[in-house]
Amino acid sequence: MDNNEIWVYIETTGSRVEPTSLQLITKAKAIASGKKVVAILLETPSANFETIVKEYGPDRIETLIDDHFVNATDEEIADALFQVTDKNRPNSLLFPATILGKSIAPRLQAKLETGLTGDSLDIFYENDLLVQVKPTYGDNVMCDIVSPDTRPQMVTVRPNTFRAEKATNPQTEVVKARFTFHKQADSDIIATDPIINSSSKLDDAKVVIALGRGAYSPKNIQLAQDLAAKLSGMVGVSRPLTDEAEFNHDDQIGIGGASLSADLLINLGISGAVQYTVGIKNAKKIVSVNIDKDAPIFEESDFAYVGDVTDFLNALTAQVR
């Protein structure tokens, strides 16, 4: 059914390799048990991203090289990937669940007529079947999902779900893949305007002050922002607050938002629904404030304060240097 290989899509932006792709190489190596781990890299002739990818020790790097990749559309990328995956189908194909990854993966999935699980929290093999774990919508319940009859088994994985580890592998082959760039007739990128992608910054922030519905007030927002500034941190929110004027999707933590890797997370007025807590699993120290002593967030917390958010913030602001 397949070539017994795990392929990882290497996303690049400008001169940067998306860290999630490197995290996926490490994870693929850890669960491979005999399968080859292959990195798929689309780049211009002058780029040399394989030198970075090599540091994480895949068995092979397949490079697709074309000048157009400086500015290719999502459809053009999916088409190029289809050319190299269709005839020789990998067992599995892993994508970062980034904005780009989540646009390309489903396009490729449709072309390959195979299965795709989005925002998976964990992956492992049962023989040749890739088990894809994700929460069900709206419930504190997990599902194991498989694609039994189609290949490749595709999955997108959120940033910071796994850790990237450098690994020397003197056997890493770099192979130029054969394909033809198909310029898409019906759309064109005419301009790109860099913005600060604060969602990925939230993923990387060392200190995060998180606001939930229970803490939503102008006073608390101000206190949180001042405190974040003092601690060189960032303010994030649970999903309901992204509907408010002060916040947007880039500030969201949890399913569909950022996965934190912070050293310190302070949750304010957040109840701790699973859609939120999946985004905080890798935070090192978690402090939570909630007026409800039974709030589920406390089970995820190292420190708990049952009481008023504003009182806590005032005290914290006064005592923090």
Binding site: E113, F303, Y305, V320
Partner: protein
């Protein structure tokens, strides 16, 4: 055509629902299409047509964290917290 576009909420603000528009909405026709109206390969839709299958549904095992409940007075709570953090 058609051009397919996905947008984020920052695109605009929905207009105000005037009483007139609300009243008129009760009379507006709503077209509904089912798979009977669309020219679809039945083997490729719905549960039967899904390449992905859910094999297990379960409650996640909770990692039991040792939670330190801070004193009820906010000033004492913060003081204790800060002494415990690096």
């Amino acid at each position: 055509m058609p051009a397919v576009v996905t947008v984020r909420k920052e695109l605009n603000t929905p207009r105000y629902e005037t009483p007139q528009n609300i009243k008129e909405s009760f009379e507006k026709p709503i077209t509904t299409w089912t798979e009977a109206d669309l020219d679809l390969d039945r083997t490729k839709i719905g549960q039967a047509g899904s390449p992905t299958k859910v094999t297990k549904v379960y409650a996640p095992t909770k990692e039991v964290k040792k939670t330190d409940f801070l004193p009820t007075d906010p000033v004492q709570a913060v003081s204790k917290l800060l002494s415990q953090l690096d």
